[in-house]
């Protein structure tokens, strides 16, 4: 009788533990499903943005890509690539359909792009590309004299050790800003100009400078 009771309670305990285990694994399963769906939603838009010359460039196309990317962002908010892609699509919109936009729409596109770039930077603070994109967006809005622009340029320069394309963008943005640039940002840009990519040492003092 006792043995029967013991085996019965052991079985119940086993069942309860198994169900708890299943519930615990359901948490990463739900995350994996969300990430998978987000990737599926974002893939066509990311491929579209990666193409050197985007084909079929129209407002409808941009709208549908934005819709997909926003779905992806809702499903996986920690995905910096999707946030940056949303910002990029708004920038493409501004670049190609500027004349058809009124002032409110223009501001809205620009603000959304800035918002999503800040979001990407929060998730990947060492990405020089996001910093350079943010600096570009701020300069477009005529905020080249702001502290945020200076920060963005400085960080883009700091983290762009292996990215010559970003370094060139930083130098160009620094030139465009001229005297309005903060002293720290100007120093960072000058450093890049003085030490062009071809003459950079293998290990730049990014890590060393942190200490």
């Amino acid at each position: 009788m006792n043995t029967h009771l013991r085996s019965g309670s052991a079985y119940r305990l086993n069942s309860i533990l198994s169900i708890i285990g299943a519930c615990l694994i359901a948490i990463p399963l739900s995350s994996a499903t969300k990430q998978g769906l987000a990737r599926a939603y974002a893939k066509p838009s990311l491929d579209y943005l990666r193409a050197e010359t985007p084909t079929d460039l129209s407002v409808e196309k941009l709208k549908s890509h934005l819709e997909n990317l926003k779905h992806a962002h809702r499903l996986a908010p920690t995905n910096a690539t999707n946030s940056a892609a949303i910002a990029k699509l708004h920038q493409v919109w501004l670049d190609n359909f500027l004349v058809s936009l009124d002032i409110n729409e223009l501001l809205q596109h620009s603000e959304t792009a800035t918002f999503f770039l800040r979001k990407s930077i929060e998730l990947q603070p060492v990405s020089p590309e996001y910093w350079a994109d943010l600096a570009l967006e701020l300069s477009r809005r005529g905020r080249s004299s702001s502290a945020e622009f200076g920060y963005a340029l400085q960080n883009a320069a700091r983290f762009s050790t292996s990215r010559q394309d970003v370094q060139q963008r930083v130098i160009r943005l620094g030139d465009d800003a001229g005297d309005t640039l903060s002293s720290n940002a100007r120093e960072a840009v000058e450093k890049l100009i003085k030490r062009p990519p071809a003459r950079q040492s293998v290990v730049l003092p990014v890590g060393v400078g942190l200490k």
């Binding site: 069942s15 285990g21 920690t78 910096a80 998730l123 603070p125 730049l204």
Partner: protein, 477 residues
């Protein structure tokens, strides 16, 4: 005759698990979306199995109880990876990782140990999935028959990859999985994007096939000669030899230096241990090493560039990348810069590109893990590996059945080869190799339990009980 429903459920879950093994190498070609599918597959299989266990439809294997320290260390590793993405108080972060705090101060980003939250969250999910795969392997690989089935599927998957790659090169079609190859024309890549990736996977499959070969034939000297002379096309061993020939040909044609070195070193170490533990296997071990070395030498000679030049170039490339990894480790010594963040971090430290056109990063997995996740994870993984290898080797002795010792040899060779490969490149980033590593670890525990069970039968059970408990799937000694 009424069919046992428990057997049915077990079988279906096991088939799902075997299908996953075929999907793993294909997922490496399918990009990040395919990785999500693999993760969902693993988690769903585990949940289904647990629900069946709760309903009393499947049984829990004893291996999972015995291996609790390994499971616990893996869980701690996943929790640590998760913690790297969590926001921490400023003082605590400053104490754990001053460099991370300094970067967050400059960039005004959330105070986390990780400097790439996206990569860290992806890495946490991936690590979690592989830990679950390890546990799933422990509970599903409960008999030698199941391990044999697993080995057969792995060999079949390796042969598929090898023949697919060879066909694409021979016919000039040069396709990857579904699209034409972007690079590496004339080199065997299978469904992978890169020949080094295929070579890494083939090494694991070759060692599994060798393990199967050792488990099917006697270790006596005469038997090898007898086998060679009397082989028939219907014998499973003949198919294994054909499979090995196909995979070795593809491996040689990948021109992968690291994989060839890893295969030879891993094979040699495992066979030496095997010869020590299982007496009478020396002749066969030496013969196998000689054959593999011979094929590799022929392959090296066939490759135009001198071996010495290739070695020097590989060492120079590896040293330059190792310096970058060491710089990252120097700045983030205690906690790393966040699991999976190495790609983003290393780009801020250097302006070098690999001299070879390989996609496999020439940074050692050990350095990458140390730079991303910190020393804690490396210690936990090292403990899991050493403990599993020790348990497996300890269970083997001259009285062990050749089937079990052969399977153990296959799993051990896979582990050794992966360990050597990981010293030279980022092979554990591939789902196929990381998955095979976890399975090989689980096999060590499963085999140790199976061997222990068989060894304890004569001393503890009556002849009648003995007859009842001997598994029917074991061939006679």
């Amino acid at each position: 005759m009424v069919r046992d429903s428990k057997e049915d459920f077990n079988r279906w879950i096991f088939y799902t698990y075997l299908t996953l093994l075929v999907l793993l190498p294909i997922s490496d070609a399918g990009g990040i979306l395919a990785t999500s599918i693999v993760e969902i597959w693993i988690f769903t299989s585990a949940i289904t199995w647990l629900l069946l266990l709760a309903a009393g439809r499947v049984k829990l294997s004893a291996s999972i109880y015995k291996s609790w320290p390994i499971v616990a260390s893996f869980i701690v590793a996943v929790l640590w990876t998760h913690l790297q993405g969590a926001r921490l108080p400023q003082s605590f972060l400053g104490w754990l990782s001053p460099a991370a705090l300094e970067i967050h101060d400059v960039t005004h980003s959330p105070l986390t140990l990780s400097l790439d939250l996206q990569a860290t969250s992806e890495q946490t999910l991936r690590s979690g999935a592989f830990v679950v795969l390890f546990c799933l392997s422990l509970v599903l690989l409960a008999s030698t028959r199941q391990i044999m089935s697993l080995f057969t599927v792995l060999v079949a998957s390796g042969v598929f990859q090898a023949s697919f790659g060879l066909t694409m090169v021979a016919t000039g079609l040069e396709y990857g999985l579904f699209e034409p190859k972007q690079s590496h024309h004339g080199v065997v890549t299978g469904t992978f994007a890169d020949p080094d990736q295929l070579a890494g996977y083939l090494c694991a499959c070759i060692s599994i096939a060798l393990g199967l070969l050792f488990s099917t034939k006697s270790t006596a000297r005469g038997s090898v000669n007898d086998y060679i002379l009397s082989s028939k096309i219907t014998q499973p061993t003949t198919w294994l030899v054909v499979a090995l020939a196909v995979m070795m040909t593809a491996l040689v044609l990948t021109h992968s230096l690291v994989a060839n070195v890893a295969l030879f070193v891993g094979l040699a170490i495992s066979l030496i241990v095997y010869s020590i533990r299982i007496q009478g296997a020396t002749y066969r071990s030496v013969l196998t090493i000689a054959i593999v070395l011979g094929i590799q030498i022929i392959g090296t000679l066939a490759h135009g560039e001198p071996l010495w030049d290739r070695l020097v170039s590989a060492v120079e490339d590896g040293t330059r990348h190792a310096k970058v990894a060491l710089s990252v480790i120097d700045d983030f010594p205690l906690t790393g810069s966040g699991a999976g963040s190495y790609a983003a971090m290393s780009a801020t430290y250097h302006s070098i590109k690999p001299t070879s056109d390989s996609i496999v990063n020439p940074v050692s997995d050990y350095l990458r893990i140390m730079a991303g996740s910190g020393p804690l994870i490396l210690i936990l993984l090292g403990f899991a590996l050493c403990q599993s290898l020790w348990v497996g080797a300890k269970s083997m002795d001259p009285s062990t059945h050749k089937l079990e010792s052969g399977l153990w040899l296959g799993a051990t060779m896979t582990l050794m080869i992966t360990l050597v490969q990981s010293a030279f490149g980022s092979y554990l980033q591939l789902n196929a190799i990381a998955g095979t590593l976890m399975i090989a670890l689980a096999i060590q525990w499963s085999l140790a339990r199976i061997v222990r069970q068989h060894q304890h039968i004569p001393s503890r059970a009556s002849p009648l009980a003995l007859r009842r408990r001997i598994p029917s799937n074991l061939p006679p000694r």
